[in-house]
Subunit: 398 residues, 2 copies
């Protein structure tokens, strides 16, 4: 048999989806699985987005522009302007999800063997995209007990080598829920300039802030980073359109965008129906997003209170996104998460969690932690906390 | 400014889309551009596919399964069975277009520096996907004067090195229109087994055969290739749904599919609306595809006759797909193609062609050739032949 690539063999399994098989088996046994593992919103998408597809008069599905239509990119420019981000349509490549934007970005800035620095824990799929591009992830630890704020700049500088090509962040953060401050972004930006690195920020949770005194600061708002800053975006979470697969890569660096366009030409175009929906979603009234964010904030409060009551459980306090990190009184959170699906149920219900070790790149970190997404309504979230509490009482390997 | 990756700098521009900028400028001047450059069908998609999306009751767009729903994969198994291809749902990973299927495949079988052998001319984007994966394309020339049939097996064997990981074909071929025979596929399959290589065939034009005595033979029908054969597929051309971005990677090699699933998990899922449409398209009556193919066959006859009448023009005789290769009486077909957009029009109309040099990997080959897609109706095709004839009379650099 011909051999599988080393890259493919060593590609880490997604911690978010690796237990999917066990969840399916539980469902086949008639057990209801509450999904806290995946960032799959349950809130309705904007009516404008759904209607434009339902009213479509397309007779066939044509390729779109590889970089996204000028009409959609112009609408995006207006959306960014409302968020105090001043860019032009030429700075945008529309992508098939933030996933593709990340993949284009890594391919544009790294060759095989190059390195990128990421504070850990980080969105687990960064590991995978890096592996796919034969790029090495160099993690810098950020700590649960400090709410996962940016690690000390000296620790970051110490990791920069001749092979370092970029620093990558997610802000607000997935999986930690931490919102990086303007000061933190600007300080990291100075390091990017000093060492001539790209500075990539994944801002797909831009609006999801749970504290009215805090404000999102985009990497594209930082001064002096024109050639360095790359912003990754997506409609998935903002408009409950994960299945649309529409994202964007945004940068004022013209050579970078010209290179990304070549990768975009390669895969022809993003999906047609999804682009129509994404453009229409931007016409949703302002109240749409306000309501969505307020729902997530209420859920966060409810879930945190419920989890904090469970003996031995510690919960991070997320200021953004819709995730939190939870430390459990177990030795191995992956074993516990699997056991929840294979050996436990409470009144025929159980919970699927994302073991957090997969969000760390350093072996041995986060083994007792899980990531929880508050993507269920408050009643269901209270029920999941109850199930987790009961499960912890019965779990044999704690 | 931080440096762009070498991979990104050297990524070849798509010959299909590289002149898009000049086409846009022509359009801005009010000139109608007939697109012969791109494989963008103009025939309606199945009503079943369009209706299912229009009647959708989705309230939000959820992620789908990374590998494609069991329902869609089961429908695909039935479709393949009708094409005498016997596989099971576990052998299929549903992808975001054939583009992603190719990208997953290369990542699963090659590491940076590995080689794949492809008869040239080949679908230009193979060059790009290989470059993105840091894989070297080793071409073997197939000749215009032999209708681009498979090169001599000894020439292929001579190119196999310790770094060779796979042989890649498109059947029926894009850009040449050649339909490889069962004998050719089986002979190449024996080489794949002998040298322990993967054998990848892109079969997105499976049904598009213009000679009723000929029959498509799938790589999955060849005996003894269970671990070697990988089939790439897409709904784009079959159902006039290029903008759906739904394809598939199919193989009976379980380790390969398990690895591809990890890459599939990474990018979460293919686009939701497009998957609904793709599944529904399989319910279109048999007559749908029969009519589509007969239209393309008629167009082929019409276009070939018209082009053959032009002085100095030679046309390949495509038995499959909807492309043909055309040798023009010019020194540089790219310069001619650009000139058509920037300096020529006939009654405010011009034609966009794909310069064929980009479909060859060996420098200097195909420089006087273009690829033409017969994706316009017969009346328009006759008009494009007329425009090309007039343009050749006026072109100053022939």
């Amino acid at each position: 048999m011909p051999a599988i690539s080393k890259k493919g063999k060593h590609l880490p399994e997604s911690p978010i989806r690796k237990l999917a098989h066990f969840a399916n088996q539980a469902k086949q046994k008639g057990i209801h699985v509450h999904h806290l593992n995946i960032g799959q919103p349950d809130i309705s998408a904007p009516k404008e987005a759904l209607d434009v597809v339902k009213n479509s008069t397309l007779k066939l599905l044509p390729y779109g522009s590889s970089e996204g239509s000028i009409s959609y990119r112009t609408s995006l420019v207006n959306y960014y302007a409302q968020n105090e981000i001043d860019i032009s349509p030429e700075d945008i490549i529309v992508t098939t999800g933030a996933s593709e934007a990340l993949s284009f970005t890594l391919n544009c800035v790294c060759d095989a063997g190059d390195e990128i620095i990421i504070p850990e824990p980080f969105y687990a799929n960064y590991n995978g995209f890096a592996a796919a591009a034969s790029v090495r992830v160099v993690p810098v630890i950020s700590h649960f007990e400090h709410q996962f704020k940016l690690p000390d700049l000296k620790e970051i500088e110490a990791k920069i080598s001749a092979k370092t090509r970029a620093i990558l962040l997610c802000n607000p953060n997935n999986p930690t829920g931490y919102l990086y401050t303007e000061k933190e972004i600007c300080a990291l930006g100075e390091i990017a300039v000093k060492y001539n690195l790209f500075f990539i920020i994944d801002e797909v949770y831009r609006e999801f802030i749970h504290n009215k005194e805090l404000k999102h600061f985009s990497v594209l708002q930082a001064k002096g980073l024109e050639d360095h800053a790359i912003m990754i975006d997506s409609v998935s979470k903002r408009f409950s359109m994960c299945g649309a697969r529409v994202g964007a890569m945004v940068s004022r660096n013209k050579e970078l965008i010209a290179t990304a366009l070549k990768f975009a030409h390669l895969r022809l175009s993003p999906p047609t129906y999804a682009l129509m929906a994404s453009e229409a979603a931007l016409n949703a009234p302002k109240e749409y997003l306000e309501k969505v964010i307020s729902k997530y904030t209420n859920r966060k409060e409810t879930l945190m209170k419920a989890l904090q009551k469970i003996k031995g459980v510690e919960v991070s306090n997320p200021t953004g996104s819709f995730y939190c990190m939870v430390a459990l009184p177990v030795k191995d959170a992956e074993d516990f998460s699997k056991w929840l699906l294979t050996d436990f149920n409470d009144k025929n219900e159980t919970v699927m969690l994302s073991p957090a070790a997969g969000f760390y790149s350093t072996p041995g970190y986060g083994v007792n932690q899980v990531r929880i997404g508050f993507v269920l309504n408050e009643k269901k979230l209270l029920r999941t906390a109850e199930i987790i509490e009961k499960a912890l009482e019965h779990y044999p390997n704690s």
